[in-house]
Amino acid sequence: MKESNSNYQVFVVNSAKYLTLTTTKYDRRKKWQRLNDKEIRSFIPGSVIEVYVKPGQHLKAGEVILTLEAMKMYTRVTMPRDGVIKTLEVAKGERLPKDTLLATIE
């Protein structure tokens, strides 16, 4: 192979720059992102069975926000910490894809 291969990319390992090709799997890898702790998102697709809270409501850690049905299982989505429901983004009966914003909290 020739060094002049135009597909070579610069790849940094321990401050040194290397010329190299990448792989499909490497290119497709998911970049890590810090979780936004003010957002509650669905981790699987499913339907909203019931919503138990309203915006502005104060909740304690562990209290149920809503029930989500996914893969024939009812999953209770609970408050991760003490806080206030700022907005509700979904309503009863809605079918949701994965990673949908369900609610924002403060």
Partner: protein, 514 residues
């Protein structure tokens, strides 16, 4: 005498049973670009060497009207034959009979031939082409799978086990191939998955085709489930026939010796490698420069391309090669490349194949995804496999051998028998750039021109440590050699290791970081 009548009757029965699912089903099979199970066996084995057993086995399904159905051979063909005049055991699922679905008797036939293969210490080749469990037989088909997996595990490391995926192989069925040594797949024909596109769509709403989900290239490039990718069944059979020349028939034998050939190298070995350690080249060219006839049979060519594994011969003997590939991801170690190399090292060790390691890597792949994917646990497999292996182990350090990667790539410290280094080798705790940043941090920070100072300090470190002589002075490498000496050194060190004995503490088995 009624012999003639009996014989004619037998012939008639055989002919009927050998038709499998009948003409219409065979036509369908051919229309999909597939060969029939019987054709496949014939294509793999020596001509006229196939001997079939259990042709007249019938299924035992008694529910859902199955009792009225005739399933010839219960959808699988088993037998023995030869490859290069050496005995092998083989089975092939017949998709034309009830979609090759696995019922109790189907599984019994497979386990029968597996038991034979293990007892007789001959390789087992399994051709998978099946719609999966025969639902009508319920838990019996689950029992069948389990009994196959159990035998795959028992036979592992004793006889070579080869899986050929020539059709669907879904659900529980996938675990038999996964337990075997080598998995062959063919573009547009092989499909492997636990859960199919239909269920994925219903449950998760993700739409994906069978080929995208579990096609041949996906398993060759992304999942690492497959070891050999072919564009056609014929190409696949040629790959199997080539692989089998490199491996011994069982774990108490050595691979067949071939006539010695010189490498067919046109240019000198030094010309392959750029002296700038930051520039890439194809490590396979170095392997070809040292193997007989420059023949290198690569395994898992598309998966974790930053490490190269495969078989070649030196002085007619099979050698397993493990080599960093600077051409891809600068040759770094990561989760996938560690898995790939570790399993291959264990294969070589189980089957008495010496291992030659060619090293040129800058360290581990940095990134959150790697750390969270468990690069500690996966990387440990490589250390484990090298340390555990008692076959002859020789390392040649071409250029970079930095840090943890230096240790992992069959260093003296993990039990390498011989370690050689080219004069271009850099054996150091890290690359000069990284090291200078740490060791000379104060000088660089306080300098009037930090960039200039940094450059100067990198050069200083390079001159002092980025060479093979520090490691050589401590005996960590046995000799610094000229590149052109590489083959001769390998030949001699492998010759010397011919009767190697390396006893280990007695144990049931170790606990590798699976």
């Amino acid at each position: 005498m009624s012999f003639k009548r009996n014989i004619l009757d037998l012939r008639k029965r055989k002919k009927e049973a050998q038709q499998g699912g009948g003409e219409a089903a065979i036509e369908k099979q051919v229309a999909m670009g597939k060969k029939t199970a019987r054709e496949r066996i014939k294509a793999i084995l020596d001509e006229n060497s196939f001997h079939e057993y259990d042709l007249f086995v019938e299924h035992t399904g008694r529910d859902f009207n199955m009792e009225k159905k005739v399933l010839h051979g219960d959808g699988v063909i088993i037998g023995t034959g030869t490859m290069y005049n050496q005995p092998v055991a083989i089975y092939a699922q017949d998709f034309t009979v009830a979609g090759g679905s696995l019922g109790l008797m189907h599984a019994r036939k497979i386990t029968k031939i597996m038991d034979h293969a293990l007892k007789m210490r001959v390789p087992l080749i399994g051709i998978n082409d099946s719609g999966g469990a025969r639902i009508q037989e319920g838990v019996n088909s689950l029992a069948g799978y389990g009994e196959i997996f159990y035998r795959n595990t028992n036979a592992s490391g004793v006889i070579p086990q080869i899986s050929v995926i020539l059709g669907p192989c879904a659900g529980g069925a996938v675990y038999s191939p996964a337990l075997t040594d080598f998995v062959f797949v063919v573009e547009n024909i092989s499909k492997m998955f636990i859960t199919g596109p239909g269920v994925i769509k219903t449950v998760l709403g993700e739409e994906i085709s069978m080929e995208e989900l579990g096609g041949a290239m996906v398993h060759s490039e992304i999942t690492g489930n497959a070891h050999f990718f072919a564009k056609s069944e014929d190409e696949c059979f040629e790959q199997i026939k080539k692989l089998i020349t490199f491996i011994p028939w069982n774990n108490s034998q050595k691979a067949l010796r071939f006539p010695i050939q010189e490498p067919l190298l046109k240019k000198s070995i030094e010309e392959i490698v750029p002296t700038d350690p930051h520039h890439p080249y194809d490590i396979r060219d170095i392997i070809k420069a040292v193997t007989d006839g420059s023949d290198f049979f690569e395994i898992m060519e598309y998966f974790a391309r930053n490490i190269v594994i495969g078989f070649g011969r030196i002085q007619g003997n099979t050698i397993g090669f493990v080599a960093n590939q600077p051409m891809y991801l600068a040759g770094v170690l990561d989760c996938d490349s560690s898995d790939k190399a570790a399993r291959f090292i264990r294969y070589c060790d189980a089957f008495n194949i010496p291992i030659v390691t060619l090293e040129d890597m800058p360290g581990y792949l940095p990134g959150v995804d790697q750390e969270h994917a468990g690069v500690i646990r996966h990387g440990a497999k490589l250390l484990y496999a090298y340390s555990e292996a008692t076959v002859p182990k020789v390392t040649v350090i071409i250029r970079k051998a930095y840090g943890g990667g230096y240790i992992a790539m069959n260093s003296r410290h993990l039990g390498a028998d011989f370690v050689f280094a080219w004069p271009t080798a850099e054996i150091a705790v890290m690359g000069p750039e990284g090291a200078a940043n740490i060791v000379f941090k104060k000088e660089i920070d306080e300098a009037e021109n930090p960039a200039e100072m940094r450059k100067q300090k990198i050069q200083e470190y390079k001159d002092k440590f980025a060479n093979p002589f520090v490691a050589a002075s401590k005996g960590y490498i046995d000799e610094v050699i000229e590149p052109s000496e590489t083959r001769a050194r390998l030949i001699h060190s492998l010759e010397v290791s011919g009767s190697k004995v390396d006893p280990r503490p007695e144990k049931k088995h170790g606990i590798p970081p699976f």
